[in-house]
């Protein structure tokens, strides 16, 4: 363990910048976006320096610590606000600051017509700070601060155009769904404190061997709930589609590349819990498997380009969660897919934003068509991202996704067949819906109105897209050459225990199988969308269900929202009638009795004398009767 003094700047710089931009107000309008971008770039520079200095160290000296201050000190319970930069966090830090900086640059042009651009950049910087705190915290409590911070930033950015009520509702929905997951994380923190007397990662890891199976399963389940909330996994996935209400750079940064992958980080970081509890691990597998198919299916029916990409994000994170459920070797592949996904999905979102920018913010793909001719750079970068996500060699997704499918098949027994089959089916559907996006948007005949004049976006926008496209092409190969990423992460996730040899299928077989189903998916999509009607056809009952996000909102509405509202109404009525009745009743009795009692105060001396006489007589009678 090495001591570092630079880690705090990673968080402090964007945080201070966000505060400056928000507090100065309109004064900062002219240069706010430049400051924010500069700050983001400098965090990337710090991250790069830290990365290279980490590479120059070896073995146990690689992780770096910075102890900031004692946060909580109660009896034997101590929490330090400490930052931990190890092999796992540096992957995230580079992704967040790198993709974050590119998206800052992109947003300068994308948001140039918005009079609130400064506020947008302030929120972006706030997000970067919170996300870095999330991945740098050395305990669950520190992570929790960042966890809530990114939730806040996500809420603010989804509702950035909150003058439209639907967008404000979308922001609220995301916040509430995240809150359900946050309950899981806070319960997990409480369980680990009760069980291990510590909330730091190292403290919990040290306590795991002595803990009971039931406690570990409960801890794992709560961590999974937290991950499901933040990463839009089943059953808390419904918010991600609506989160596309935010500006497109936000969708690219927060709802594709970084924040939604926090769940994968949480599970990978807590690998010791899941390794020790097969039940919790199986739950992870189930959630990941369901979500990857769920998201892929939803993606096939969306006409809104951003919602199609959001469904795809959900599905790809399903792959990562699935991989984390596969044991030690899975973690490294989950992180590899996370990083490659960060490149190609952010790139495709920026491409979608570029198309929208040229098409007067039209998002309906049925009104696109033949955009490849007028926006060549966007089309090429989007196309490279597309080849990466469907897993065509040698693009990034091929390496990362094939590894996950292969590991899934090799999980052993019927579990391996089911999980591997789901992953393979998911790959086929992914190929179908991504081809659909490409065909509907960039090829075919033009279906937009004549007054729309699509044009290629300015260089500030396409340069980040090109850089991300290069990442989508090359990152998979780089991560995989000589098992670079697996070996890099091995000290953190204990992947050393992985055994080769008892494989159900050889890597070559899996790759050919995957390429086969991908080819099928692509061909079906190309054949099906040779002609595209501008208005969506009615479709059969299945299509309708898929268009309604497989009824997830209807389910939530019927089962959770309405009974919840009914319960609330019941309590309101109880409060109004019963509780208020008691309070008002007591007051009423006092008022009525005092009104009546006041009547004996009539001011006549004779009546006072009479009352006194009667009183004395009553007293004497009482005494007489008692003594009798």
């Amino acid at each position: 363990m090495t001591t570092s003094h630079n880690l705090v700047y990673l968080i402090a710089l964007p945080l201070v910048s966000a505060a400056i931009l928000l507090l100065l107000g309109r004064i900062a309008d002219k240069w706010g976006h430049l400051l924010a971008t500069l700050v983001s770039a400098s965090t990337f520079a710090i991250a790069a320096i830290e990365f290279f200095s980490m590479r120059s160290r070896s073995g146990a000296a690689r992780p770096a610590m910075q102890d900031l201050f004692t946060w909580i000190s109660v009896g034997s319970f101590n929490v330090h606000a400490s930052l931990l930069l190890d092999q796992l966090s540096i992957c995230f830090v580079l992704l967040i600051t790198g993709v974050g900086t590119l998206i800052h640059i992109y947003s300068i042009a994308y948001m140039s017509h918005d009079h609130d651009r400064r506020r947008f950049f302030a929120y972006l910087n706030l997000f970067v700070a919170a996300m870095l705190l999330l991945v740098l915290g050395d305990s669950y409590l520190n992570l929790y601060v960042g966890w809530e911070g990114v939730g806040l930033a996500s809420y603010l950015l989804i509702g950035f155009w909150n003058q439209k009520p639907a967008y404000a509702v979308a922001a609220k929905k995301a916040f509430v769904a995240n809150r359900v997951g946050d309950i899981g994380l806070s319960l997990a923190i409480m369980i680990s404190f009760a069980q291990f007397g510590s909330v730091s990662f190292s403290g919990v890891e040290a306590g795991v061997p002595h803990a009971s199976k039931a406690a570990l399963t409960a801890l794992g389940a709560m961590l999974l709930l937290a991950a499901a909330g933040k990463s839009a996994q089943f059953p808390l996935q419904s918010w991600l589609g609506d989160a596309m209400a935010g500006p497109t750079p936000v969708s690219a940064l927060i709802h594709a590349a970084t924040m939604v992958t926090a769940g994968v980080y949480l599970i990978t970081r807590s690998h010791f819990v899941f390794d020790a509890s097969p039940t919790a691990q199986t739950m992870v597998l189930i959630v990941g498997g369901i979500t990857l198919l769920f998201g892929a299916l939803v993606g096939t029916a969306k006409d809104d380009i951003k919602k199609a990409l959001a469904a795809s994000t959900m599905s790809q994170i399903g792959y990562m969660i699935l991989a984390t459920g596969l044991g030690p070797i899975g973690y490294a592949f989950a992180i590899m897919h996370l990083l490659t996904h960060g490149f190609f999905k952010a790139g495709m979102f920026l491409g979608a934003g570029s198309v929208m920018h040229g098409m007067n913010d039209e998002v309906n793909m049925r009104r696109y068509g033949a955009i490849g001719k007028v926006m060549p750079i966007t089309a090429v970068t989007f196309g490279l991202g597309y080849l990466a996500i469907i897993g065509v060699p040698p693009f990034a997704g091929f390496y990362s996704k094939d590894k996950i499918i292969e590991t899934a098949f090799n999980a052993g027994g019927s579990k391996g067949i089911i999980v591997g089959g789901a992953a393979l089916l998911g790959a086929a559907i992914t190929a179908f819906y991504m081809t659909r996006v490409i065909v509907l948007t960039f090829t075919g005949t033009k279906r937009w109105d004549d007054q729309v004049h699509p044009h290629e976006s300015p260089s500030l926008m396409w340069i980040p897209m090109v850089i991300l496209a290069v990442g989508s092409v090359a990152s998979g190969f780089l991560f995989n050459s000589g098992h670079a990423l697996v070996n890099w992460l091995a000290p953190v996730v204990n992947a050393a225990g992985h055994e080769e040899g008892k494989a159900l299928m050889q890597p070559m077989t899996v790759s050919l199988l995957a390429l086969g189903v991908v080819a099928v998916g692509v061909s079906i999509a190309i054949l099906k969308y040779r002609t595209v009607p501008v208005d969506a056809p009615a479709g059969n009952i299945l299509t309708k269900i898929v268009r309604r996000d497989l009824l997830q909102d209807d389910f939530n509405d019927r089962v959770l929202v309405r009974p919840g509202q009914a319960l609330t109404n019941f309590f309101v009525r109880m409060d109004n009638s019963f509780i208020d009745g008691i309070v008002r009743g007591v007051g009423g009795i006092v008022a009525v009795s005092s009104t009546n009692l006041r009547k004996i105060q009539n001011g006549y001396v004779r009546s006072y004398a009479l009352i006194m006489v009667v009183g004395v007589l009553a007293l004497l009678t009482t005494i007489w009767m008692v003594t009798l």
């Binding site: 105060q601 009539n602 001011g603 004779r606 006489v613």
Partner: protein, 99 residues
């Protein structure tokens, strides 16, 4: 003669006084009734003193007389002032306490 007859007389006088205070409106008469009640009490004191064979009751009756004398001085002064200001000695007219 039975000594308790004095006590009966005292009780009757007291009751007459009390009834008078309650039913009469004229302040002077009410005042006289109060005096009657005080003297009924005096009679009871003296009787008890006689029954017990000591002087405690006698002494108490002296105290009562002194208090009664003071009360007459102050009370009559009040009644005279009241009569001057409102041309009436009816105590029902003096009901300002209500407001």
């Amino acid at each position: 003669m039975d000594i308790s007859n004095y006590l009966y007389l005292s009780a009757i006088l007291f009751t007459i006084g009390a009834v008078g205070v309650v039913v009469r409106r004229n302040a002077i008469v009410v005042f006289m009734c109060v005096e009657l009640m005080l003297n009924a009490a005096n009679l009871a004191f003296v009787t008890f003193s006689r029954i017990n064979g000591d002087l405690v009751g006698q002494v108490a009756s002296f105290f009562t007389m002194v208090v009664a004398a003071c009360e007459v001085v102050v009370g009559l002064a009040i009644i005279v002032t009241m009569y001057r200001s409102r041309r009436s000695a009816s105590i029902d007219d003096a009901s300002l306490l209500k407001r």
